[in-house]
């Protein structure tokens, strides 16, 4: 395969998204996956286990997602490039380890394959884990969240997630979904020259306090002011990475009377709908946050300052819409939603709703 030492050339493949994620983790330099099975994430684990045998990497199946998350953090503390993957109720359980990673500024990558909720919901698909991914823990949501839309992006952004996590020391989430996890399409896979390397937080050589500073790793603080000062630093650090980490895509936003906004796999339908309407001469634009956290608000603010109608399209009852509304609070524009929690959205549906809004303008 392309990303191994034996075959350095990029290669075209026809894979599921879960296969793409597992291979991307290997390409990025991941050394261990800790996980607990849950649909639609399982094939990430299955593929990783197969590859782990092949490349001398490690895998630990834990008793639940809490353990999977904490074992992943243990791996990171020991200096390993570690990651986990989960979905639905598993993403809920993953919040405690994610929150600890935020507190201790541990780099960790979590791949989330959204399924229908609440609770067991469906094993199929949704975009209902946006709030969980961005703000699920007790704390301030100091996480980077990528929302890829194609298998190529799943591969590219999984690699990027490792780089970003280990560079900025914020937990980083690749927000996939049941469709992307299980569908097959073509992508190009490639080897990565500068793989991520871990560095041990604990068990380093030398006498602590003599040969090296002691490792002082805390997730508990005694004084409220102590915690406040720490979090002030963290939130500032998170705001500072925004211009470097925040990513988006747009088409024709300038002059758009109707701006269609979507994230993840739904952007594929949104973009197709906008292109169709544009082709018919309608003043329609498209915007897509690639990072849901930090949320890339700049272009949206420029558009919103001109006024117009925004149509947020998502397979949830308004989670992306909430992020948009917060980012654009105080701007005078009309905010509409095509909100279909737990089901896929087609270009045809978006075209129909957009036509209705344009006619009403």
């Amino acid at each position: 395969m392309a990303i191994t030492q034996q075959s350095p050339r990029p290669e075209r493949v026809f894979w599921t998204g879960n296969e793409a994620v597992a291979w991307a983790a290997v390409a990025a330099g991941a050394e261990i996956m800790c996980g607990y099975p849950i649909t639609p994430q399982n094939e990430i684990m299955h593929t990783w286990v197969r590859l782990a045998h092949q490349y001398g990497l490690d895998f630990l199946q834990t008793e639940d997602e809490l353990s999977a998350g904490f074992a992943t953090l243990g791996g990171v503390l020991a200096g390993k490039v570690a990651f986990t993957a989960t979905a639905g109720p598993g993403t809920v359980l993953m919040q405690e380890p994610l929150s600890m990673a935020e507190m201790m500024r541990l780099p960790v990558v979590v791949v989330v394959c959204q399924r229908g909720g609440p609770s067991t919901g469906t094993v199929i698909y949704s975009q209902q884990e946006v709030m969980l991914a961005c703000f699920g823990g007790n704390g301030e949501g100091l996480r980077v969240v990528y929302a890829p839309a194609t298998h190529q992006e799943l591969y590219d952004y999984t690699i990027k997630a490792f780089r970003v996590a280990w560079k900025y020391r914020f937990p980083t989430i690749v927000l996939s979904d049941g469709y992307q996890a299980k569908m097959r399409e073509a992508l190009t896979v490639y080897r990565v020259e500068d793989q991520v390397r871990g560095e041990a937080y604990v068990g380093r050589p030398g006498v602590p306090g003599v040969a090296r500073p002691p490792a002082h790793l805390r997730n508990t603080y005694n004084l409220e002011e102590e915690l406040y000062d720490l979090l002030a630093n963290y939130t500032t650090a998170f705001q500072e990475i925004q211009p470097r980490v925040g990513e988006w895509q747009e088409e024709d936003w300038q002059g758009a009377e109707l701006l269609v906004v979507a994230h993840g796999v739904v952007t594929r339908a949104a973009r197709a709908a906008v292109r169709e309407l544009r082709g018919e001469g309608y003043p329609v634009g498209y915007f897509r946050p690639v990072t849901l956290r930090p949320f890339p608000a700049e272009v949206l603010r420029r558009w919103a300052s001109l006024g117009g109608t925004m149509l947020v399209v998502e397979s949830a009852a308004g989670q992306l819409r909430r992020l948009v509304a917060e980012a654009l609070a105080g701007y005078g524009f009309r905010l509409e939603g095509l909100l279909r929690p737990g089901v896929g959205i087609t270009p045809e549906e978006i075209v129909a709703v957009a036509r209705g809004l344009l006619a009403a303008n």
């Binding site: 026809f14 299980k182 569908m183 097959r184 399409e185 073509a186 739904v266 197709a272 087609t346 045809e348």
Partner: protein, 189 residues
């Protein structure tokens, strides 16, 4: 020519996912744009299992679509479940070996194609290759792709079974050819 969109629906265990996956992979092998999206619940068997397949020369946008060019529904429940994808452009394929389908549910279809796939599999081949007869039929209704690419895709999915029982290879390939013939017989070519 715009892409061909297909919905394959059957009872869990009937093999529609294999049909969808193999067809999409064959199309990819043949240099076409291809996407396969499975859709089913938590059941291991039973329940209606859907596969969405898109094949053609245009880049594929969304994984789901409103109406299908081809709907293959292999059980009564599957007809009901997939009727929402039928419009006046749709070719509806069903297995005609059993009861006739409820025409009211699919009245809009451009054409309805009953194929005796179960009967042909049982009498001429083996009931086990029923889904390969269906694969042959959807291959006939998809954009042109060479038989060798279909065989290669079958090999990549079922090769492990052929390794144990080599005679299954020919049986499966014959089933695919028969499925294609069933469609050709109905459309005179």
């Amino acid at each position: 020519m715009s892409n061909v969109k297909m919905v394959l629906a059957g009872e869990g265990g009937q093999g529609v996912q294999t049909v969808g996956e193999v067809l999409a992979e064959a199309a990819y092998n043949a240099g076409l744009e291809a996407m396969y999206l499975p859709n089913f619940g938590v059941e291991q068997r039973g329940g209606v299992s859907l596969a969405y397949v898109q094949v053609g020369e245009e880049p594929i946008t969304a994984p789901k679509f409103r109406f299908a060019d081809v709907v293959v529904a292999l059980s009564h429940r599957s007809v009901a479940r997939s009727a929402r994808y039928v419009n006046d452009h749709t070719t509806l394929v069903y297995d005609s070996s059993g009861e006739e389908i409820d025409g009211g549910a699919v009245g809009q279809a451009r054409r309805i194609l009953g194929l005796p796939a179960v009967q042909v599999a049982r009498e001429e081949l083996s009931p086990r290759v029923f889904n390969m007869v269906i694969l042959g039929a959807v291959w006939a209704l998809a954009p042109a792709m060479p038989l060798q690419e279909v065989k290669r895709a079958v090999e990549s999915h079922l090769g492990y079974k052929f390794a144990v029982q080599p005679e299954l290879r020919e049986l499966n390939f014959r089933a695919i050819t028969r499925g294609r013939e069933l469609v050709a017989a109905r459309f005179g070519g």
